[in-house]
């Protein structure tokens, strides 16, 4: 059993994919719900999206990628309505990790990205014993 340590301002968080598995929840269904309307039409079904041919917009080089992640990172997250003032805090944090490829971030860094809520509010929310959407501290 992992010992719970109270996170602080320097603690890095990320989306823990194992949490989704342990909870028996389908991450890909959830990812699909974050797509922009345009991408939702293209990837109407989350099945068959785990590995597609992605064409680089500059070189036309083809990469095998996860279509949902790639769309969220390179297209949907670039839209101004991806994270708005009305996006709930935990959704906004989740989307921030989608946009940066799930690179670990501290609450201070998250605060800079979101531009709203206080650092303390974000820390209180993510640092509680309850885990929202698999967002939890990175285990060292």
């Amino acid at each position: 059993m992992v010992r719970w340590i109270k996170p602080d301002l320097e603690t890095k968080f990320h989306i823990d994919f194992d949490w989704w598995e342990k909870e028996g929840r389908d991450l890909r269904v959830y990812l699909q719900s974050h797509l922009c309307p345009e991408c939702k039409v293209i990837y109407a079904n989350h099945r068959g999206t785990a590995e597609v041919d992605w064409i680089d917009s500059n070189t036309a080089e083809v990469m095998r990628v996860d279509a949902l992640w790639q769309s969220l990172r390179t297209h949907c997250s670039q839209r101004p309505d991806f994270i708005t003032e009305n996006t709930p805090l935990t959704d906004a944090v989740f989307r921030a990790f989608l946009a940066n490829g799930n690179e670990p971030l501290s609450v201070v860094e998250l605060h800079e990205i979101l531009g709203r809520h206080t650092v303390e509010t974000i820390l209180r929310t993510l640092g509680s014993r309850k885990i929202y959407k698999g967002i939890r501290p990175v285990l060292k």
């Binding site: 293209i42 990837y43 068959g48 999206t49 597609v52 041919d53 992605w54 064409i55 917009s57 500059n58 070189t59 036309a60 080089e61 083809v62 990469m63 279509a67 769309s71």
Partner: protein
């Protein structure tokens, strides 16, 4: 999209002149017209050459294979050029269907690049918009790219600095006044030619343009005229006997030994030893008087007006009257040609007689020399209005003064008494309009010169000078008032001084009291 390095700022920042550039410049000089080129011309030519070389390189690269465009289909074994990957050449080694609901049906080709083991995959037969898909004929068009002239505007100064540095070091190029030419193409100018030029200038007694000197030199006619002129300019510029007194447009050559000393060295009468004073003490009214006096050594010399005016009138002060000069101030500088030479020859034309006089513009020290005789011949007093007028020839300026019938008038006349300047009202015959506040006469210029020299040697402070001169001027009218302009005019008989230090004394010393309209009274008790 084609990668053109010449379109990037980094390319020009890291630009280094190489041997191929120099070869190009050699060819440029050897072209049929065989003429010197300005630094700007060479810089632009070099930028253009680099752009042309890059275009040629692009065309060469593209000729190695089929241009890659994701909309096209390619066969296994086909050679493809990828401009966006630095014109890398790759060979198609396989193909498979692509899958992504976003793009619809398309193919994926496997490409192996020269010198690489791994293959990379690229889209083909793609029916989806992509920036690498171009219309036929659009491939090499310079769409949205900066032309060589635009690149010159953006990066020309950096390129020029590096180019000129290189040309100076190479030893193969001669330069004169911002123009360059191949040394090997210069006409041979030997000592005999220079002696002839010297003799011509001696006989004429005035500066001559290079073309005129060339007429007597019999250089080889097969050398282009522009190259002949450049060659002679270079040779004259390296010979100490000759001085270029031309302007921005052309060189004019003269003999240094024939030049008046007043244009070689700053005349002592015009030399100002800076006086420290508090400019903050000058009120708006005093600053207005300073502007009106418009002395060339004023600290706050206003910029010349942008407005094109054809004539201007100035008031002649004592130092310029004695030396025979006109000050180059914000009002007058626009009437004289500009140039990088230390001295420039101009023609001063007497407005009444049309007589032409040799004038010399000395911009470094802000004056135009050449009117000593004219001032004397016309009995022009200190304080007279002098009018300058432009002509169709930018090197000819009309000088005149508003005339009036010769009439005897009471004016302030300076003498030296007890080692100090003294003033008295005396009758003088004056045949020109003048500023009543500035006009001054003198009985014995030699005495005043002696006083001035002693004053200069002793470094007499301006405060002491004012306490001597102010009472002398004040006694000439019943109210005991002296105008700031009168004081400025009188002080400049003994010491070269701009209005600022004088006005600062008036403003800050308790012994001077303003009574309005630029007039002041002196209270000896307050000293």
């Amino acid at each position: 999209m084609f990668v053109r390095e010449t379109q990037t700022a980094t390319y020009w920042q890291e630009f280094v002149v190489d041997d191929r550039d120099l070869d190009y410049l050699y060819e440029l000089f050897l072209e049929d017209d065989n003429r010197p080129r300005t630094s700007d011309d060479l810089t632009l030519a070099l930028i253009r050459s680099r752009c042309e070389k890059e275009e040629a390189l692009i065309k060469g690269e593209l000729a190695r294979g089929t241009l890659f465009q994701p909309g096209e289909g390619y066969e296994v074994g086909e050679q493809i050029v990828f401009p966006v990957l630095g014109y890398a050449l790759g060979s198609v080694v396989g193909a498979r269907p692509g899958y992504n609901p976003k793009y619809g049906e398309f193919d994926v080709i496997q490409v192996r690049f020269e010198g690489e083991e791994e293959t990379r995959e690229f889209a083909s037969k793609l029916d989806y918009p992509h920036k690498l898909n171009r219309e036929e004929g659009e491939l090499l068009e310079a769409e949205g790219i900066a032309s060589p002239v635009e690149l010159y505007d953006q990066h020309g100064s950096d390129v020029q600095r590096k180019l000129l540095e290189h040309l100076r070091l190479s030893g193969d190029f001669a330069s004169f006044r911002g123009e360059w030419f191949l040394k090997g193409l210069l006409a041979e100018i030997h000592e005999g030619h220079l002696n002839i030029a010297e003799a011509m200038l001696d006989v004429k007694g005035m500066p001559l343009p290079t073309q005129e000197l060339l007429r007597e030199l019999d250089l080889l006619t097969k050398i282009a005229p522009a190259a002949q002129i450049f060659s002679l300019n270079c040779a004259l510029g390296q010979d100490e006997r000759f001085d270029d007194v031309g302007n921005d447009d052309q060189s004019l050559w003269f003999l240094r030994r024939l030049e008046p000393s007043e244009i070689v060295h700053l005349p002592p009468r015009l030399r100002y030893t800076p006086i420290l004073y508090d400019r903050a003490s000058l009120s708006e009214e005093l600053l207005r008087w300073e502007m009106e006096l418009d002395d060339e050594i004023m600290e706050s010399a206003a910029r010349g007006t942008e407005e094109e005016i054809s004539s201007v009138t100035i008031i002649l002060n004592y130092p310029h009257r004695r030396v025979g000069t006109i000050p180059l101030t914000s009002k007058t500088e626009g009437f004289f040609p500009r140039g990088n030479t230390e001295r420039m020859m101009v023609t001063l034309v007497d407005g009444r007689t049309g007589k032409q006089m040799l004038g010399w513009v000395v911009r470094q020290h802000k004056y135009v020399y050449g009117l000593k005789e004219w001032y004397n011949e016309n009995d022009i007093p200190v304080g007279a209005y002098i009018k300058l007028e432009k002509t169709d020839d930018p090197l000819a300026i009309v000088v005149d003064f508003p005339r009036r019938p010769n009439k005897r008038e009471w004016i302030r006349v300076a003498t030296v008494a007890g080692g100090k300047l003294a003033f008295a009202m005396q009758m003088r015959a004056i045949g020109c309009e003048y500023d009543e506040l500035m006009v001054l006469g003198e009985n014995n210029p030699a005495q005043i010169d002696s006083l001035w020299m002693r004053s200069e040697e002793d470094g007499k402070p301006i405060s002491e000078l004012m306490s001597e001169i102010f009472p002398e001027l004040a006694k000439l009218n019943p109210q005991g008032t002296v105008h700031a302009k009168t004081l400025y005019s009188a002080i400049n008989m003994e010491k070269r001084c701009p209005p600022g230090p004088i006005l600062a004394q008036l403003a800050s010393k308790a012994c001077f009291m303003a009574v309005g309209d630029g007039y002041w009274v002196y209270d000896r008790e307050a000293l």
